[in-house]
């Protein structure tokens, strides 16, 4: 985690509910964002992640609940008094002002002297690597540059909390990857408590200290990227992050079996009526020399083999008819040993990669 700047504020959300008619956009959400933390709200569209961000910014009035910045209750504070920086999905840069006009806007509202505004605007622009761009018009900027201006405008008045609503969704992939690292670096430098909304799981994994996975207005799991990926709390989280295959497994006494095959698994199985085994495509190995001692060995038939440049993807059918997907990295040798459709293969999974989760659909 970034070193918390002395000015960063923790955020405490408690029992916040927002309904639209009968739909629970937010269903009794409680959440704590630590001072200086980079926390991502991750979820599909309509999950409530943006609603929660709008509650934090003050644009959505919840039915009830509490919201604290530090020790101060702000749930009824008007948006313009909250002193939080925010970037919008479409940037929301004022088209009738120049870059400097946009970035200086919050400072002019705060009646800072002209010289100070000019200085701080230039400094903020330099922070986002747009030094000297002050006189440009907004429509002269590329998507990536607009994004940077939006960030500069959100940080120039030194808010202690920064909210970002899918800031990179309009950028192409290359630029997005680059901006992810840049935003992360910026966060480390400024140390503001940051709440970031995205539907892109990879973005969330790359950037966050912790991720809250949101669905149906509830937080499904709040954990570090590592724990979220390795130990998903439920089927939804496991499914949303990564492209996993789920196999229904049963508990027989203290043994977990798939069909009549006893499974070796690392962490203990959760204590639920239904169980599923989660298999990550990149954690499934293909054994060339038959079953591997100590691992879970499956018998399967390759159905589709897709070359994807850096790796190849195998769709295979297990002996009970279930489909699994596995991915193998490309190296000089594997190119020649790629299975062909119809080949009998032996996918093997190490016990620590055999993750058992609550099998119920959420």
């Amino acid at each position: 985690m970034a070193t918390a700047s002395k000015d960063a504020l923790p955020i405490t959300v408690a029992n916040v509910t927002k309904t639209y008619g009968k739909v629970h956009a937010l269903d009794d959400v409680s959440l704590e964002v630590k001072s200086g933390e980079f926390l991502t709200l991750l979820g599909p569209s309509g999950s409530g992640k943006s609603t929660l961000l709008m509650v934090l910014a003050g644009f959505t009035r919840p039915d009830h609940g509490s919201l604290k910045f530090g020790d101060t209750e702000v749930i009824r504070t008007a948006p313009h008094l909250r002193e939080v920086g925010m970037t919008f999905q479409n940037y929301a840069l004022f088209p009738h002002m120049t870059v400097a006009g946009n970035v200086g806007y919050p400072l002019r509202l705060r009646k800072r002297p002209k010289a100070e505004i000019a200085e701080r605007v230039e400094k903020a622009l330099e922070t986002v690597q747009l030094g000297g761009f002050g006189n440009r018009r907004i429509d002269q900027l590329s998507g990536g540059q607009r994004q940077r201006v939006a960030v500069a405008r959100a940080i120039v008045f030194e808010p202690r909390i920064l909210l970002m609503d899918e800031p990179l969704s309009a950028l192409d992939k290359k630029l997005r990857d680059q901006m992810q690292i840049e935003l992360r670096r910026l966060h480390e430098k400024l140390g503001m408590t940051t709440v970031y909304v995205t539907h892109d799981q990879r973005e969330a994994l790359t950037m966050s200290d912790r991720i809250a996975v949101v669905n149906h207005g509830r937080i499904m799991q709040l954990a570090t990227p590592h724990d979220l990926y390795e130990r998903p709390a439920n089927r939804f989280v496991a499914d949303f992050i990564g492209d996993s295959t789920f196999l229904k497994v049963t508990r027989q006494g203290d043994r977990i079996t798939w069909g009549d095959m006893a499974l070796a698994h690392g962490a203990p199985a959760p204590d639920t009526a239904e169980l599923a085994m989660m298999l990550r495509p990149e954690r499934i190995a293909l054994s060339d020399s038959g079953p591997v001692e100590g691992a879970n060995n499956f018998a399967a038939t390759a159905e589709n083999v897709v070359y994807q440049g850096d790796s190849y993807l195998v769709q295979a059918r297990l002996s009970d008819g279930a489909e699994i997907i596995l991915r193998r990295a490309m190296s000089g040798a594997t190119a020649t040993t790629m299975p062909a459709p119809g080949d009998a293969i032996t996918p093997t999974v190490a016990p620590e990669d055999t993750v058992l989760i609550d099998g119920r659909e959420v």
Partner: protein
């Protein structure tokens, strides 16, 4: 082996043919404009330079400069147009803003009430105002029976009546483009302004208003130019006290059968309108650049 320039001529011919067909689509409209606009205006222009004796002369234009009554007519025309435009802005802008903040479906419903006058005959609406505003009209008789005032107030056959009627008729022309521009302003701009610390009033004046001015400006320009050539409403509600250029044109033809004088007035009105449009277009562009400053 295919030649490097294979099919070059054929492809170019296809391209030309396609353009020709597209041009063909616009020919009826082009013809129409030629017949009902270019030729009559050209004729108007020609007639305005023909004197009473049938030879080339500037007498029609000289008369406009030398006679006081003519300059008064132009002053009145601009006065009425300015006042109508100003009142339309004062009434129309807040209304357009209100409509733009409603949910879209409710807004379209309300917009129908704004457009309703559009579907009624201009003459009917103008005489309706006469019925409402005259000395024994509905407003005076109701107000007096309610004791609001004792003597009938003169609200028609003067500038007041003309302005009331014209503002009513022109209002939709201002509201429509203004509303369109306001609808196009993303709510996110206002949210961003608020998030950055702007009170609602400040956010309105620093962000919403500047972004809505192109629509307001287009609407005001349309109202102003329509007003310059307006005839029916000032003729009926002005009661002969408000004489605009269009009315002078009519009396020149109907009373004095002086086509030359009427044409010259028409030409001057046209030229003035074009100058205003030209200045406005310059100003609009300037505004966009200057708007970046603050």
């Amino acid at each position: 082996m295919v030649a490097i320039h294979a099919n070059e001529d054929g492809l170019r011919r296809d391209e030309r043919l396609e353009r020709l067909k597209l041009f063909g689509l616009s020919s009826p409209a082009t013809l129409l404009i030629l017949v009902i606009l270019v030729i009559p205006v050209g004729w108007l222009f020609y007639v305005s330079f023909v004197g009473a004796d049938g030879s080339f002369s500037l007498e029609n234009y000289e008369r406009m400069v030398s006679r006081k009554s003519y300059s008064r007519i132009f002053i009145t025309t601009f006065q009425v147009s300015f006042l109508t435009t100003g009142l339309c802005i004062l009434i129309g802008y807040p209304l357009a803003y209100f409509l733009s903040q409603l949910p879209p479906r409710l807004a379209s419903l309300c917009m129908i009430t704004v457009l309703l006058p559009f579907w009624t005959s201009l003459l009917v609406r103008t005489y309706a105002w006469l019925v409402l505003l005259q000395k024994q009209g509905l407003i005076n008789s109701w107000a007096m029976s309610l004791g609001l005032w004792d003597e009938p107030i003169k609200m028609v056959h003067n500038m007041t009546g003309t302005l009331i009627g014209m503002v009513h008729i022109m209002l939709p022309f201002l509201i429509l483009p203004t509303y369109g521009a306001m609808r196009a302003i993303s709510q996110d701009y206002m949210k961003a302004a608020s998030n950055l610390g702007a009170r609602p009033r400040t956010a309105f004046w620093t962000v919403f208003f500047p972004l809505s001015t192109p629509g307001l400006f287009a609407g005001a320009l349309m109202v102003f130019i329509l007003c310059l050539g307006f005839f029916v409403t000032p003729a009926v509600l002005g009661g002969g006290k408000v004489i605009m250029v269009s009315m002078k044109i009519v009396s020149n033809i109907e009373l004095f059968v002086n086509w030359g004088a009427a044409s010259a007035l028409g030409v001057v009105l046209l030229v003035l309108t074009m100058i205003i449009l030209w200045v406005a277009s310059r100003f609009l562009k300037l505004d966009q650049i200057a708007g970046g400053g603050h």
